[in-house]
Amino acid sequence: MEIKVCGPGCASCEKTQKVVEAAVAAKGKEVSVIKIKDFQEIAQLGVFSTPAVVVDGQVKCVGRVPKQNEVEDWIG
């Protein structure tokens, strides 16, 4: 499983990164968390507001910091 956190690196993006990492740790699954900072790459995912979370190629959340229990649900 692979989770992409999209965002140029502002405060909200850092927060999102932490939430995702915490959720992964809580689930204890094999998940690779990748940061995407390049705008072109982010746009190609169809994401036009950051931060965004993409789980296995599927965009789960755009333009806000998700809650940890949401991310845990997405991990499954």
Partner: protein, 363 residues
């Protein structure tokens, strides 16, 4: 410019569970609680001035009319006043913002032509959640949705320029007239500057890779929000914004209090007065590299005004500091060619200079 709370969301939740939550909202309780808190807020707010006088002159026994007395009472009155106003407004705006997302704004503007689009974009710029680092993705989304360049700029100018925190602080410290002037002129500059940029037909000055962006379907994830969710977002905004800016507010008011008590009247009149014609453009140029959030700049504005600076000059300075920021330009460089950034700065800067002169003449 303020990093705004990220409330615009797009996550889907199962509709069924939403319906259950909606039914469980204890409307009576929530309503009564809201009314009670507001009455309490109002009662405290109305007693701040006599209370600050009591603290200063009776409890601390500072001599009435002395420089120290003026400064201390100013500080003790303004700090809680501004913090209370700020908390209330940030909460209200936080709830309001939950109705606006960048996705929805984009969809709404996609069908609009220029002129009407410029007006709508400037107004949506105030209420749509936005921070400087989301400027680029937002720009890409607008371009991809086929929104005209000028309309996009109206949004990008208004979003940082008309800042709700600046508005509240201006209202609290300088009265509703100055606050209204700021709101109206900020909107007008955004509308006109965006319209002018649109007229110039500069689409070719967008970076090439942006233009090649496939005009496909933009992703829209709508999330149903209950009123409890919205109230939560308001609370979160208060925690986020008030928690971050209170230091600036207190520091700014402390500086303001010192100036209020100790700096002689009309000290600033020579440098930033009406008669110094060069002061308006100078204020704008000085303001560009300065990057302060609105909370820090307004108490300084108040202090400058109190000491004889002209309103137009001070407004121009404030708008330049918050609307033309170097970090935002550096970020926008990723999607705009330098020529277009120069036009952007030129048009917005001219608008601000014009506004400055206008107010120096009228007031």
């Amino acid at each position: 410019m303020e990093p705004l709370p990220s409330s615009g969301c797009g996550c889907t939740k199962p509709a069924a569970s939403q319906a259950v939550i909606e039914k469980n909202v204890p409307w009576g309780k929530v309503g009564i609680l809201a009314l009670l808190s507001f009455c309490l807020w109002l009662a405290i707010y109305n007693h701040l001035e006599p209370f600050s006088s009591y603290l200063t002159y009776s409890l601390f026994a500072v001599k009435k009319g002395s420089q120290l007395g003026d400064a201390v009472q100013f500080f003790l009155y303004d700090t809680p006043k501004v913090m209370m106003l700020l908390t209330l407004i940030v909460f209200v705006i936080g709830v309001l913002r939950s109705f606006f997302t960048q996705e929805r704004t984009r969809q709404y503007l996609a069908g609009k032509r220029e002129s009407a689009g410029n007006v709508m974009a400037a107004m949506l710029g105030i209420v749509t959640p936005f921070c400087s680092c989301s400027a680029v993705p937002l720009f890409l989304g607008f371009v991809q949705a086929g929104i005209p360049l000028g309309v996009t700029f109206s949004f990008l100018i208004a979003a940082p320029m008309v800042n709700e925190i600046a508005l509240v602080l201006l209202y609290g410290l300088l009265g509703w007239k100055v606050a209204a002037l700021y709101l109206v002129t900020g909107l007008l500059i955004a509308m006109v500057a965006g319209w002018v940029i649109g007229r110039l037909k500069l689409e070719t000055w967008i970076e090439d890779w942006v233009q090649e962006l496939r005009a496909g379907e933009a992703l829209v994830l709508e999330r149903k929000l209950t009123w409890l969710d919205r109230i939560d977002q308001g609370k979160e905004a208060v925690r986020d914004i008030v928690g971050k800016v209170w230091v600036y507010v207190v520091a700014g008011i402390a500086v303001g209090a010192f100036i209020h008590g100790y700096v002689p009247e009309a000290f600033m009149a020579q440098v930033m007065g009406k008669d110094a014609w060069w002061s308006v453009p100078a204020a704008v140029v000085v303001g560009i590299p300065m990057y302060s959030n609105a909370a820090g700049i307004v108490p300084v504005v108040e202090a400058l005004l109190g000491k004889g600076a002209a309103l137009g000059t001070v407004l121009a300075f404030m708008m330049s500091v918050i609307a033309l920021s170097l970090p935002e330009m550096i970020i926008l460089r990723k999607v705009l060619k330098p020529k277009l950034i120069a036009v952007f700065v030129g048009v917005v800067g001219s608008g601000i200079v014009f506004t400055g002169y206008l107010f120096n003449i009228i007031v």
